[in-house]
Every structure is written in structure tokens, then in C-alpha cells.
């Protein structure tokens, strides 16, 4: 067992076990697969960011003068599809879930390592279809593929993109399947459910959503493709089909999908807030149960995306009420994280900065979701920038922030190197400031009536749009900086040692980087999660690392 003073890298870890390309492309090591995903999704993140940049440049001026309206439609469509399906849905689970979850439960790998590798290949295959669709003309339906535009009227690469998303869906399903089975069957002796890190609970709940929801998206996309290719009538009003049926089927997945995009980040926050407050997470049981509650309740609210689409008012009221309920477990988490901070011994390392950013931004995003859940309010702000701001607060202010938090927290474990703390803190601050400057004005714009998905707008909205674009530039710098210093750290970073943050968790009891099979012997767990009181106790003979 290594101690902090012994920061010499062992001769063989999962990185240097084999240097050949084949060993990477045919790996079944969950840690390597995590890095395969990390590389891919990072590329896709910047691709999606590129589309965002063009959108924000167009919106600098009221006139639609940078691109044609049709091109603009393609830009926001491709931004959405790439960011959601090629980045956010896989992000935390496929990178950090893959890397850390088996180690957190004391396992040597996931239940189905070959399926895990297949997950990555399937992801890349689907992404290739999407990229091909983009390169050969793009799609302009919005990431939501609403019918009948997508099935009848659009002249863009709808089917190719739909096939790509369909394939990527299977990557998601297989990852979720793998996690569920792993958590049930591969936990180390003594690791009861209530001793599990909350990160594991969050990923378990996420996996349940992936497994139950994604297939419905898959079949819906099949029907869209069939409709588009063969004009079968299922969503075509001219033949008696109902375009709203598409929306029901689509949102049955896509609403829970947003919980796929946030729950894993919430799991990250639980880990990091405990570590940098040196306290166990307050209300552990409540936080664990809230993940399950979000997964279940998340399936009951989808038609709040359809309040003005033509559903019955009675259905709207039911979904509105249910949407209010689904906010409760999220609020439970925020309260418990805050309570964890109270009287904690707080240190403002970079991951903790992201925790604070998350708590604030997610709260704003979540509360504005409540506004949208109210039918009367939604009537006014639906399809305006208010909605755009709401979901970016959640997905970027919550989801991406959680991803960056995880990246900074587990980087030392993954690479064995520390990144430069001052640059990392600066970039976290830039992300936070840039993000707020980009998206807060959008709440105001939406409330004042600026519609989303329009490339031109009335001149009185220009000032706020300029602020938003300025913010986006700062945000971009904040996102680019980690690319630089993380790569720098690989060569020049300080050796991290097994547990630089003195964190709780089985993954920190291995060397950094870990050996291929994680543990020489399966650990036997006799302690509760977040046993920081034991870790920080001055002179007890407790076997912990660091």
C-alpha cells in the first residue's frame, strides 16, 4: 500500500502497460475506454462550440447578415445535436463513470468490458453518421426533429442524422446496462448500498433512465425515417396522422434525457463537496433517494415541452403539476450540499470552485424551470430566449460545470499528474463569469419577447445580445485554457501521488495512475462513505491512503 511520501509511479499502470495503438483500440480496460471517450467527446464539444460561436456572431447585429436564415437553422440544429448527443449525454458517465465507478465499488472492471468497448465503437459509428450529415449539407429541423417539417418538408440530411442519433442511442443503452449490472453484482464485500459513494447512486439512477428512455427515442427516429422515406402517414396530418404523437414519443425520452445530462454531474458534486469540506455529505440517504426520485419522476413530466403545441388543457395541467414535483428532489440535493458546507473545513481548490458555480447556476436554472412549468407563464416565454437561458443554465452551468469539476478532481488519479492550480482557478472564474454574461441577458431577452431560433431580431434587443456574445467569448477562453494546462501537466505537472486531495473513496486507495486491474486484492469495506473524520483523525491506525 502506497503512502503520500512515496510518489514514485509503479512500473506498470494502465497507461504504460502497453503502448501500441492496437492495445488502445482493442482494450477492454474501463479506464482506457474512458479516455477513448474523453478524447472523442472533447473534439465534439469544440465542434458544438464552433457552431455556437457562429450563432453568437450572427446575433451580434439585429439583421440576419452573417448567414442566410436556412443556414442559421442548420447552425442551431447542429449545435444542439452535437452538444446533446455527441457530448453531454455521454460526458460524465462514459468518461468518469467508466473510469471511476468500478474502482469506487472495488471491482476490477465493469460487468461487461467488451460491451463497454462496443459502446465506444457504436458511439463513434453514430457520430460518424452525424458528422457525415453535417459535412454534406447539415440539418435544419432543430435537434428536436419536429414533424411534419422533419418528415415531409425539410430538404436536409434528416435521415442520416436520425440514423446517427439512433446508433448513438445504443451506445448510451449499453453503458447504462453495464452500470446497472455492475452496481448490482460487482460490489466489493462489505460495500452495502448505503456505503456507496453518491456518485454511484447518481450513475445508477442515470443508467435506469438510459435503459428505459433511450429505446423510445430509437423507435421514434425509426418511424421518422420511415415516414420520410416512404410517406407512411403516421405523423402526417394529410393522411390522418398526428404530428403531436411524434412530440409525445420524442419527449418521453428527451425529457428524462436532461436528467441523464445532470444526474451524473450531481454525483460529482456530492463527491467533491464532501472532500473539500472534509465532511460527509449531509443527509446521505436523502441525496441517494433523490437520485432515484429524479429518475422516476423525470418520466412523468414530458409534455411540459408541449404546453402550446396543441395538447389538451387538462393534460397540460397534469403535466404542470408533475413538473413542479420533479423539482423537489433536485432541491433536496441543493439543500443537502449546502448543509454539507456548513461548518465544513472548506478549501477553495479548483474542483471546489466548480462546486460553488454548480450550486449557484443549477439553482437559477432549476428555479427558472419552475417558471416554465407553470402553464400560464410558459405561454408567454415558450420558444423565447427565456427557455434557451433556462436550459443552458442547467446543461452548461450544471452539466458542463460538473464535467469540468470531475475532470479537475480526478485528473490526478487518471494521469498521475497535478495541473497548475492558479491557471485552473483562473479558468474556473472565467468560465463562471463568461457563462453568466452569456446567458443571464438571455433571460431578459426571452422575457421581453425575443424568440429563439431566429437569426434576426428587433434592434431594441441588440445591447443584450452583444453582452451575450461578449460573454461567450470569455466563456470560450475559459473552456480553452484547460486544454492547454492539462496537456502541459502531462509533461511538466507535479506527480500527484495516490491521493493528493486526501479524499475518501476506494479509487483513491490505488496508485495514480492505477494499475490495469485496479486492485491486487478485492478490498473488504468496513467503513461508511465519506469517512473524513477517520481520514483526518491525527493519529489513528486506520488504513487509508494519503
Amino acid at each position: 500500500m502506497e503512502t503520500a511520501s512515496q510518489s514514485i509511479e509503479p512500473k506498470t499502470n494502465y497507461l504504460n502497460a502497453d503502448y501500441t495503438i492496437k492495445s488502445w483500440l482493442l482494450t477492454t480496460d474501463h479506464k482506457r475506454i474512458a479516455l477513448l471517450f474523453l478524447g472523442s467527446i472533447t473534439l465534439f464539444f469544440f465542434l458544438g462550440g464552433f457552431f455556437a460561436m457562429l450563432i453568437r456572431l450572427e446575433l451580434l447585429t439585429p439583421a440576419g447578415d452573417l448567414v442566410l436564415a436556412d443556414t442559421y437553422n442548420k447552425l442551431f440544429t447542429m449545435h444542439g445535436i452535437v452538444m446533446i448527443f455527441l457530448f453531454l449525454i455521454p460526458s460524465v458517465p462514459a468518461v468518469f463513470g467508466n473510469f471511476v465507478l468500478p474502482m469506487m465499488i472495488g471491482a476490477k472492471d465493469l460487468a461487461f468490458p467488451r460491451l463497454n468497448l462496443a459502446s465506444w465503437y457504436i458511439f463513434m459509428l453514430g457520430a460518424s453518421f452525424v458528422l457525415y450529415a453535417i459535412l454534406t449539407g447539415g440539418m435544419d429541423t432543430g435537434w428536436t426533429f419536429y414533424t411534419p417539417y422533419s418528415t415531409t418538408y425539410s430538404n436536409t440530411n434528416v435521415v442520416t442524422a436520425a440514423v446517427g442519433v439512433f446508433i448513438i442511442g445504443f451506445s448510451s443503452i449499453f453503458t447504462g446496462l453495464n452500470f446497472i449490472v455492475t452496481v448490482h453484482r460487482m460490489r466489493a464485500p462489505g460495500l452495502t448500498w448505503r456505503r456507496l459513494p453518491l456518485f454511484v447512486w447518481a450513475h445508477y439512477a442515470t443508467s435506469v433512465i438510459m435503459v428505459l428512455g433511450t429505446p423510445v427515442l430509437a423507435i421514434t427516429l425509426v418511424l421518422v425515417a420511415l415516414e420520410r422515406l416512404f410517406h407512411i402517414g403516421i405523423f402526417d396530418a394529410r393522411l390522418g396522422g398526428d404530428p403531436l404523437l411524434f412530440q409525445h414519443l420524442f419527449w418521453f425520452y428527451s425529457h428524462p434525457a436532461v436528467y441523464i445530462m445532470i444526474l451524473p454531474s450531481m454525483g460529482v458534486i456530492s463527491e467533491v463537496v464532501a472532500c473539500f469540506s472534509r465532511k460527509r455529505v449531509f443527509g446521505y440517504d436523502f441525496v441517494a433517494m433523490s437520485s432515484i426520485a429524479i429518475a422516476v419522476l423525470g418520466f412523468l413530466v414530458w409534455a411540459h415541452h408541449m404546453f402550446v403545441a396543441g395538447i389538451s388543457i387538462y393534460a397540460a395541467l397534469v403535466f404542470s403539476l408533475l413538473s413542479f414535483f420533479v423539482a423537489i428532489p433536485s432541491a433536496v440535493k441543493v439543500f443537502n450540499w449546502t448543509a454539507t458546507l456548513y461548518k465544513g473545513s472548506i478549501s477553495l481548490d479548483t474542483p471546489m470552485l466548480y462546486v460553488f458555480a454548480f450550486i449557484g447556476l443549477f439553482t437559477i436554472g432549476g428555479l427558472t424551470g419552475i417558471f416554465l412549468a407553470s402553464v400560464g407563464l410558459d405561454l408567454h416565454v415558450h420558444d423565447t430566449y427565456f427557455v434557451v437561458a433556462h436550459f443552458h443554465y442547467i446543461m452548461v452551468g450544471g452539466g458542463v460545470t460538473g464535467f469540468l469539476c470531475a475532470l479537475h478532481f480526478w485528473w490526478p488519479k487518471i494521469t498521475g499528474k497535478m495541473y497548475p492550480e492558479s491557471f485552473a482557478r483562473l479558468s474556473a472564474v472565467l468560465v463562471f463569469l463568461g457563462f453568466n454574461l452569456t446567458f443571464f441577458p438571455q433571460f431578459l431577452l426571452g422575457y421581453m419577447g425575443m424568440p429563439r431560433r431566429y437569426h434576426a431580431y428587433p434592434p431594441e434587443f441588440q445591447v443584450l445580445n452583444v453582452l451575450s456574445t461578449a460573454g461567450a467569448s470569455i466563456l470560450a477562453v475559459g473552456f480553452l485554457m484547460p486544454m492547454v494546462y492539462f496537456v502541459w501537466s502531462l509533461q511538466y505537472g507535479k506527480d500527484a501521488g495516490p491521493n493528493p486531495y486526501r479524499a475518501a473513496g476506494l479509487e483513491w486507495m490505488t496508485p495514480s495512475p492505477p494499475p490495469t486491474f485496479n486492485f491486487d486484492e478485492t478490498p473488504v469495506v468496513t467503513w461508511e462513505a465519506y469517512n473524513y473524520d477517520e481520514i483526518d483523525a491525527p493519529s489513528k491506525g486506520v488504513e487509508v491512503a494519503g
Binding site: D109, I173, L223, F230, I234, G240, L245
Partner: protein, 236 residues
Amino acid sequence: MTRSMHPARGLKLPDSETAVHNLRHHFADLEQQSATAKFGMWIFLVTEIMFFGGMFASYLIYRLSYYNAWVAGSQTMEIRYGTANTAVLICSSLTMVMAVHWAKLGSRKLTALFLILTLALGLAFLGIKAVEYHEHWVHHEVPGANFHFEHTGNYDPRHVSIFFSLYFAMTGMHALHMVIGAGLLTWLLIANARGRFSPEYNSPVELVGLYWHFVDIIWIYLFPLLYLISHHHPGG
């Protein structure tokens, strides 16, 4: 020892070497591995329930909206073919279950026999389906440019197009799953011929069995929903 376990011609005794060879490194023992694999297959079947479920939901919405058109569409189905196919699949589920049974008992020959029977029945199903599809095509019942329905009742023939869309989507997706199942059975036959299975290690047979039965269950619902809606004239 029960009679069924008595060594008989073709019964292969347990091969512990083969068993150990199949243990993957991250599992403690074969038992954990096969229980885990089985649970994994059940979770996959959960996703399949949701996958087909979207189409069943669409079917239900439109059936409640356009009942007469649904009746008209359903009446073009040949109940003989549908019933025959249902019987074929039920028999194939029995042969599949027997294949798993003999795989667990270590009989390579009997496992092969029942796998072949299952495969043959599955192919028979697909054959009958192909005949049905051809008939629909010839009668202009395939949605799209070639669709033409002589309507003789209180319904809109365009709605019958939606019925057929769902008919082809649902039975087509089912048939695709049958084809995949046939592929899996073939793979099992090859592995079995190479002596890869034993009483200790026969998960793949069991897992393909679960998949096969699930596809049978889908058909059990498709049959009454598509073929047996009503014998009465869709006069409204």
C-alpha cells in the same frame, strides 16, 4: 441421478477445463459470471420492451381514433398465416427451451438437434411472413406511392394506410429481430459443435433463449392486435 441425467449416447460429461477457460478475469467464479450475464440480458430485454412499446403506443392511439379503418386493414390479413406463424413460434420456443435444457446437461448432440429445430422453425416463420408481405404488395396494401385501398365502409382509406404503416413497422421490426435471432442460433450451433458448452458453462445458450422467447412474446401480442380485430364489416 434422475433419468434425464443418466449418461446416454451423446451425453457429454462435464469438461472442467472448458469451464475454467471461459471464466473472465474480473469475475470471482463462473457462477457470478453467468448470473451476471443473465441479469444483463434481462436488462437488455427491458430496453426491447420499451423499444417495441413506442410502436404499440402509436398503434393504440390510432386504433382508438380510427377503429373502422383498423378493422378494414385487419381483415385483409390471412388469419391462417397468422395462426400458423403463432404456432410455429410457440413450437420454436419449446425447442429452444429443450436446447437450453440439453446444454445444461452437457449433451452436445441433443443441444445441436434442438438448436437446429428452433432455427428451422424461425426460418419457417420468416418464410410465411415473406409470403404475406408479397401478397400485401401485390394487393397495393404497402403504404407509399403504390398504396391503394378500395374502401367499402365508414372509414377514411388514408387511415388504413396508417394501419398498414404500423403493421409493416411492427412486424418488420419483429422480423428483423427474428433474423438476428437466427444469426445468434447459428453462432450457437457453431460454438456448440466446437464443444464450447458444458454443464458449468452454457450461458450463451440460455441468453439466446431469453432473447428468442422475448421475440415470441412480441408476436403473441402482435397476432391478435393485427389479425384478429374484428370479423365484422367496418360499417361503423
